[in-house]
Symmetry: C2
Subunit: 107 residues, 2 copies
């Protein structure tokens, strides 16, 4: 894949059941990740956008966490239904989806 | 971890032995990742830098691949011995390590 204009990272951190920090994995980040990859392909957006799953991004309390660079914008509590809006508005349109943005004390 | 000034991603993609694209895993990205985490802790750089392993970053031919945002700078063929220079010069000093930078036709 070429150098992207937007790069989205989806946290896939897992922790044992009952761990005090929880994890994005227990909040279904896998389904969110799959939806980003599905839309990447469906929109044929390989030239503009990169999609990468990742290890821990930090704010476990608001997982699933999704991070977009180069803006360094963190989204929290992202569901499968939110992916379309992030893809359309932010990754392709350059407009931050403020309703999903992590609080400033978190990121 | 708070919102970082620099965020480094280390590709940890694995593929079966003999796969035509190879992978960063077969080129010892795990040791490179461990060294980034070790130096992060030793330098107590949690306030300025984030370190995250990731899925495929793209340029498998020059793995292990290491990507720094917000600059969107890709480093290739990174060894354990290179980590100190990337950490010191780029992640803490803001200066790109040009000798390790991926060619412009790759990223």
């Amino acid at each position: 894949m070429p150098r992207p204009q937007k790069h989205v990272f989806i946290c896939n951190q897992a922790r044992p059941a009952g761990h005090p920090r929880g994890s994005c994995a227990e909040k279904d980040c896998k389904a969110v990740t799959d939806e980003f990859f599905r839309q990447w392909q469906a929109r044929n957006a390989f030239g503009q956008v990169s999609v990468t799953y990742s290890g821990c991004l930090g704010p476990c309390s608001i997982g699933p966490s999704v991070l977009v660079y180069p803006e360094n914008v963190m989204y929290g509590n992202v569901t499968v239904d939110d992916v379309s809006e992030i893809f359309e508005k932010h990754l392709l349109g350059g407009e931050i989806v403020t309703r999903l943005q992590a609080p400033t004390d978190v990121w």
